[in-house]
């Protein structure tokens, strides 16, 4: 959406061709002098005068460049239409320009192209439109626009970048899991739950308490302050029906698989879809991601929370090796009793998984473990010997069985199974 002006300045850079022409021009002249040959000297002179004359033409210009994008937030796999308008604001021809919009490598050109060669007369405008697809979740930036003047004989170039950037966030896709969750026994567990009498950013007044640093000024009860002389804040009840905790494993091991199919990608899609489902039901959803560090988004409801969750999920990357138990230990004081916990993890390479889940179950949380089958994803990218594969599978099976033994609902999510299909396993399990 930016609008920027760019001016060429500075010295032109010589191309390889120009440099070769210059050195060979000088060489021809000198060698011509050595052997008293006029032809060599004149060819050398012609080379040099070509350089001298071409130096006169400068792609010196004043450009106005404007970029528009059809969207700034998209779901994985969606297309964005980008249009660039370039106007020559000066009284001179721009001469031969190459324009290139720097599009991240992770985006795929669907239609049109993000570059153009142009030679704009005074006041002329050129429009460039292209469509990119965003197959990968994440935060991206389109831009800056690179502009390069290139001499007609490819002797000099002059390059500038126009710092006009458009930020694009690509959210994980949302799958429709309503039917699956309705058919499974997940939703029924919480239906009819009453308003939780716990403090939170809701509407209904709950209690007065002392002001603590970090509290919003808006929540200060000015009347109480006037009356008692002490800073008091209003605490309100939370509107949500239930707090749903979604814990997503973003450890380094979650990258196993292909770029589009790996535990992390499957996990973000699942987390986004699950959050979407519960938020729509006016439940509070909290998102916790852990990998190199833990990111905790407190339970909230509403569209804002939905957006926060999607942004959070858009930016996760596979990194680190934080144990699950560290996460659950840190979380447990903030978790309301009995709230359901979704753990989305391949469950690989973490010895604390079992005790962590056992603890959660023991505290009365409904734990649903959605585990993308890492070993099957690994199979997509490396050749695993048949026997190792079978033993690895058996080991994983053991782990899942053990978790199920603690009362958690476990879903073994195979790579080729749709999320909704996988969720149906809850009923079976």
């Amino acid at each position: 959406m930016g609008k920027d002006r760019v001016r060429f300045g500075g010295l032109d850079m010589w191309t390889r061709k120009a440099a070769i022409m210059f050195t060979s021009g000088i060489s021809l002249i000198l060698i011509g002098m050595m052997i008293s040959n006029f032809q060599l000297m004149i060819v050398g002179l012609a080379f040099l005068s070509l350089l001298a004359i071409n130096g006169w033409v400068a792609g010196h210009s004043d450009l106005l460049i404007e970029r528009q994008t059809s969207a700034t937030n998209v779901y994985k796999g969606d297309d964005i239409v980008v249009s660039l308008t370039v106007t020559n604001k000066s009284y001179r021809r721009t001469q031969q320009l190459e324009l290139f919009d720097n599009v991240p490598h992770e985006m795929k050109m669907r239609k049109g192209i993000n570059q153009m060669r142009m030679n704009l007369g005074p006041g002329q405008t050129a429009k460039l439109r292209y469509v990119v697809r965003c197959p990968l979740r994440g935060h991206y930036t389109i831009g800056p626009v690179s502009v390069r003047y290139r001499n007609a004989f490819n002797l000099f170039v002059n390059e500038t970048k126009m710092d006009d950037r458009s930020d694009i966030t690509v959210f994980p896709q949302i799958r429709d899991i309503e039917e699956a969750l309705l058919r499974s026994d997940v939703p029924k567990m919480y239906s009819g739950a009453t308003t939780l009498k716990t403090p939170g950013p809701g509407m209904e007044f709950y209690a007065l308490r002392e002001y603590l640093p970090g509290d919003s000024f808006r929540s200060i009860n000015w009347k109480a302050l006037a009356r008692t002389g002490e800073m008091m804040v209003n605490e309100k009840t939370r509107d949500a029906v239930t707090d749903v905790f979604v814990i997503v494993d973003t450890r380094d091991v979650s990258r196993i698989g292909t770029v589009l199919k790996n535990p992390l990608e499957m996990g973000t899609v699942a987390a986004a879809s699950v959050s979407n489902y519960f938020l729509k039901r006016r439940d509070s959803v909290s998102l916790v991601t852990y990998g190199s560090r833990m990111d905790y988004l407190p339970p909230e409801t509403g569209d804002k929370q939905y957006f926060k969750i999607l942004s959070g999920l858009a930016s996760v990357e596979a990194k680190g090796s934080m144990p699950l138990q560290a996460v659950t230990n840190a979380l447990s004081p903030r978790m309301s009793r009995g709230s359901p916990v979704f753990i989305i993890s391949s469950l690989e390479g973490d010895g604390t998984t079992l005790p962590a889940i056992r603890n959660l179950s023991g505290k009365g949380h409904e734990v649903i473990v959605l585990s993308p089958s890492s070993i099957d994803l690994e199979r997509l990218v490396s050749r695993i010997p048949r026997m190792s594969y079978e033993v690895l599978k058996l080991e994983r099976q053991n782990r899942l069985t053990a978790i199920a033994g603690y009362g958690a609902k476990v879903i073994d999510w195979m790579p080729d199974v749709e999320l909704s299909q996988a969720l149906l396993q809850i009923k079976l399990g």
């Binding site: 052997i35 008293s36 032809q39 000297m41 060819v43 012609a46 021809r93 049109g112 006041g123 007609a152």
Partner: protein, 390 residues
Amino acid sequence: MSENEVPVSKSLNIRQLRRRWQIILLQLISTASLILLMQRMTRLYGTCSDSFIESYGESLYWCPAYEHTRGLRWFEQETGSLVLPDFLTGLNQTGEMTVVAPIILCFGITALWIYVLTRGDSTRKWINIGVTVVFFAWMLLPFLISWITALNHPLNHIDHLWGPLLFVFELVFLGVVFAPVLAGIMGIWGLSKKFLTWTVGYYLTVIGVHAILTFEGITESVDLGLNPLPGQIGEATMWGGLVSPLALELIEVAILLVLYLEAGSAVISHMEYASLLPKDTKRDPEFVRQFENVINGHLVHLIGVMSLVALTTAIALEFDDFLISTVGALSGGQWSGQVKESLELQLTYGKVISAGLFLVVVAGMRFILPWQRVTGIFETALLRFRSTET
């Protein structure tokens, strides 16, 4: 992509681009320069030295000059007859007409080559095999047949091998002159940068080798009979006293060389850009219009810059005269006196130094002359005038 697309005939598809007048004009400029270059080269480097000719008297002679008929005639005399007919080699013509037939041949070969290139892979393979088989059959079959049918006279069959071998030699004699022409035409019309630069390299090599072979230090020990270029550039009598006839020819060679290369590679670079564009943008009016802008600009630059380069080189070569007269006009100090009369200025060195000085001045002019602003204002006014008119 865009709602309104340009008609296919104006699109940037390679097939349509090949028919665009700008592209064809560039190719024609390049081809014309190539052929003119060849003609100038033959004129400058195609003769043997007078003393060499005299030493042969009336008999046929050959020196490694850049000309094909002399070699072929000499070869004909040495071997009896030529395989290639005279009308193909141009031997039946005289003077500059001798190159016509071979040049037409070059065009023919290029056309064939492009035709073969545009066929499918398998056809190309078959054509290659066919040509090879025919050639080898012609080379070996007569020999084999005569050898087998007349085993009693074992010594005579080797003659049958001579024909093809002589043919190869004839091709070499022709090729020395026409290989660069053929490669050049193939480069221009077959869009091959490799061929274009090869031709330039070839001509520079010819010039360099000729220069070395006619250098006094070399001719003292080995004299191949090449006619050296005059040591002095001569009196400037042409273009209103700007260039001497010899300088003009030498400048022409240099300019044609650059013009040929630049025009030829311009076509290729524009085609390359067009081929990079995805299908939908090839008919996008914005892209088409800018492409037109770019290529028109290129044409203007090519013609303008090249003329200026020719002019600059010519002036640079005569700049020493200007310097001498300027220094002469200065009041007679000791230094100006000796510079005015300095031997250096009258020899090549003076030419080179003053030419270099002139080029520095020319290069520095870009900082002084705001010509682009001037043409820009002119162009803006023109655009406004046009828009009010419509």
